[in-house]
């Protein structure tokens, strides 16, 4: 998997160096960063929302 990542990065820097349809194409490895950051944000937001607001025991509505 690490290998695959390296391959995509090489592809990005060789084939797509001048690709600029979006502003974020200027950032190297943007999609990799977006992936890991989104992933962490989602997990932490989900845990936060779950623990603080919406988590209940399964019989919550039956009481």
């Amino acid at each position: 998997m690490g290998l695959l990542l390296v391959v995509t990065l090489i592809l990005e820097f060789t084939y797509l160096a001048d690709y600029d349809s979006h502003w974020w194409n200027a950032i190297p490895a943007f999609y990799a960063l977006w992936g890991i950051i989104s992933c962490m944000v989602i997990i932490y937001v989900a845990k936060f929302v779950s623990n603080n607001i919406v988590k209940r025991s399964p019989d919550y509505y039956d009481r």
Partner: protein, 573 residues
């Protein structure tokens, strides 16, 4: 006329439901499959521009109208009815089979309806029949969830009807047509009515409430029809409404956050429908040709892989009796084929290369970018990460891996379940490898989107690889627990006992009180008037009984009756 009427694909399935109820038990599930095949045949053979019209109470109705958009949805709805019918082949429960046929017929009928009245009739049939698929589970929680589902949908249908009537009064037209973006009350009522069925937040809570409680096979039908027929109507009537862009993008994110929170297979998948429909709604809001093509293609692909994933989850429920992640894990040896088929669906939904989501999801997301809406595009990419994380990694990891070997006893699956999953998995891969097969049916031709670019491959693989890395690091945080997650249905479930007291019990009590009062008054009056002799002879203390009537008294009464009779006769003459 009759021949045209009965070959409307939606009507075929309704008639099928009638016939099916007369078929012997053991033949029923095989006969079931004939009707979707017939519907599929007529969907394919009716030319574009074909119409069936009728007149009812002075209104011109268009019962069926074929164009490229309705044909695309007609194909996938009929095909799903067929595949889900195969999946449910072992079911002998007549109620479920009839409900499923009527439900599919309703969805296909909505797709081909050329006027709002026909559309509404099929719409309501869909709501009622799908409720039965929840109730057929026959547990107390599914009874209650089905009732909530029905109430929400009847409310949605009512709002839609109000909008349609208002629209009719304004324009005098019932034809299904594109409405210009406006703050016209008629259009907004219709939009809300449709948005309830499309599970647009905050009107979505019925979906994750009801779907996880439906029967194993019912959930497969449900995952395909209700939301996607609403997506079709949105696409037909409200393309380019900007509000949909933002609601769609918000839905996409909201759905995946909840999919990460939830700990039950089918609940995760249900929330994930909200997220996926968000992609489609967002594309409809953007409203360019490419975005609408993307939404239509995504609906098409989504129905396939979501049905596949619900089949996988249903198979786990059938085999083990539970879908709670905390009780599952380590099934990789015992349910290997289910896992493989499920993973095809999961990879498709995550938009990985070689699968159909790679085409359709990317088309929708890129359409947002091309239309200059980069914020919406980033929101959708963000939601895409959550998709892979929740249904592509978390759900399968805690179902099939995590432990070495599960000690749950696994019931063998009927062969037809494997066949249905196999067909669907094949289609997911097929459309991923041969996107042209789907492109020819898209509403806006020519489709000039090329998914197989280096850029797109780099984009998808980097996102997927790093999402996997993130999951692996934090996987302990996502493990199964025994919890439920509150959602906006809290706002109607918690005060429900109060409202029941005010609107049901109080009214019941009032009627009860009036009834008791009426009986009491009757009782009093009867006591007073049961013996007219008391009144005719008020001066006597003794009780008068009929048998003691004296002849003179009888004569007086006979005379009175005679006079009344004579008067009556004169009056009539």
């Amino acid at each position: 006329m009759i021949a045209e009427f009965v070959t409307i694909p939606g009507i075929i399935l309704m008639i099928g439901a009638l016939i099916l109820s007369l078929v012997p038990r053991d033949l029923r599930s095989s006969i079931f499959l004939l009707f979707p095949i017939a519907a599929l045949f007529f969907v394919f053979t009716r030319p574009e521009g074909y119409e069936v019209t009728a007149t009812l109470a002075g209104l011109d109705l268009v019962l069926m109208q074929v164009d490229s958009l309705s044909r695309l949805f007609g194909i996938i709805f009929s095909a799903t009815a067929l595949i889900a019918g195969i999946y449910a082949w072992h079911i002998k429960d007549l109620g479920q089979q009839l409900a499923a046929l009527v439900y599919a017929g309703g969805a296909i009928g909505v797709t081909f309806a050329g006027d709002f009245f026909t559309l509404l009739v099929f719409w309501e049939l869909m709501a009622i029949s799908s409720t039965w698929l929840v109730w057929a589970r026959r547990t107390p929680s599914s009874d209650a969830a089905g009732m909530r589902y029905l109430i929400v949908h009847i409310l949605g249908g009512g709002i839609l009807l109000a909008g349609i009537l208002w629209h009719l009064a304004d324009t005098g037209s019932l034809l299904v047509e594109t409405l210009p973006q406006s703050t016209n009350i008629a259009s907004i009522l219709m939009l809300i009515g449709v948005a309830i069925n499309a599970a647009v937040i905050p009107l979505h809570a019925w979906l994750p409430d009801a779907y996880p409680k439906a029967t194993v096979t019912g959930a497969v039908f449900m995952s395909a029809f209700t939301t996607k027929s609403a997506v079709y109507v949105l696409m037909r009537v409200f393309p380019g409404w900007e509000v949909l862009t933002w609601f769609g993008a918000a839905m996409a994110i909201y759905g995946v956050i909840y999919a990460v929170i939830c700990k039950d297979m089918r609940e995760i998948l249900a929330y994930h429908i909200v997220s996926q429909v968000g992609f489609m709604v967002c594309g409809i809001g953007i409203g360019t040709d490419m975005a609408l093509n993307g939404s239509a293609a995504h609906a098409y692909s989504h129905i396939l892989y979501k049905a596949l994933m619900f089949m996988g989850a249903g198979a786990v429920l059938y085999a083990t009796g539970t879908t709670k992640l905390v009780e599952l894990g380590g099934l990789k040896k015992k349910m290997r084929w289910t896992m493989i088929f499920y993973m095809v669906g999961a990879f498709s939904i995550s938009g990985l290369p070689l699968f159909n989501g790679f085409i359709s999801k990317a088309m929708t997301v890129d359409a947002a970018g091309y239309a200059g809406n980069e914020t919406a595009m980033l929101m959708l990419l963000f939601a895409g990460v959550g998709t892979f994380l929740s249904v592509g990694l978390k759900l399968p990891y805690f179902t099939w891996f995590d432990k070495e070997e599960s000690d749950i006893e696994v019931k063998p699956l009927p062969v037809n379940m494997y066949i249905a999953m196999g067909i669907t998995a094949f289609l997911c891969v097929f459309y991923g490898l041969v996107p042209g097969a789907l492109y020819t049916y898209l509403p806006f031709q020519p489709v000039d989107y090329e998914p197989w670019t280096v850029y797109h491959l780099v984009e998808i693989s980097q996102i997927a690889l790093l999402t996997f890395a993130g999951f692996w690091i934090f996987r302990k945080k996502l493990a199964g627990e025994r919890i439920i997650a509150l959602d906006v249905d809290w706002f109607y479930r918690t005060p429900a006992p109060f409202f029941r007291r005010v609107f049901v019990n109080a009214i019941d009590n009032f009627f009860g009180w009036v009834e008791a009062l009426a009986f009491r008054i009757t009782d009093k009056l009867v006591g007073r008037f049961d013996n007219p002799m008391k009144w005719l002879n008020p001066f006597s203390k003794e009780e008068n009984h009929a048998r003691t009537y004296s002849p003179p008294m009888e004569m007086v009464m006979a005379f009175v009756i005679l006079v009344i009779l004579v008067f009556g006769i004169f009056l009539v003459l």
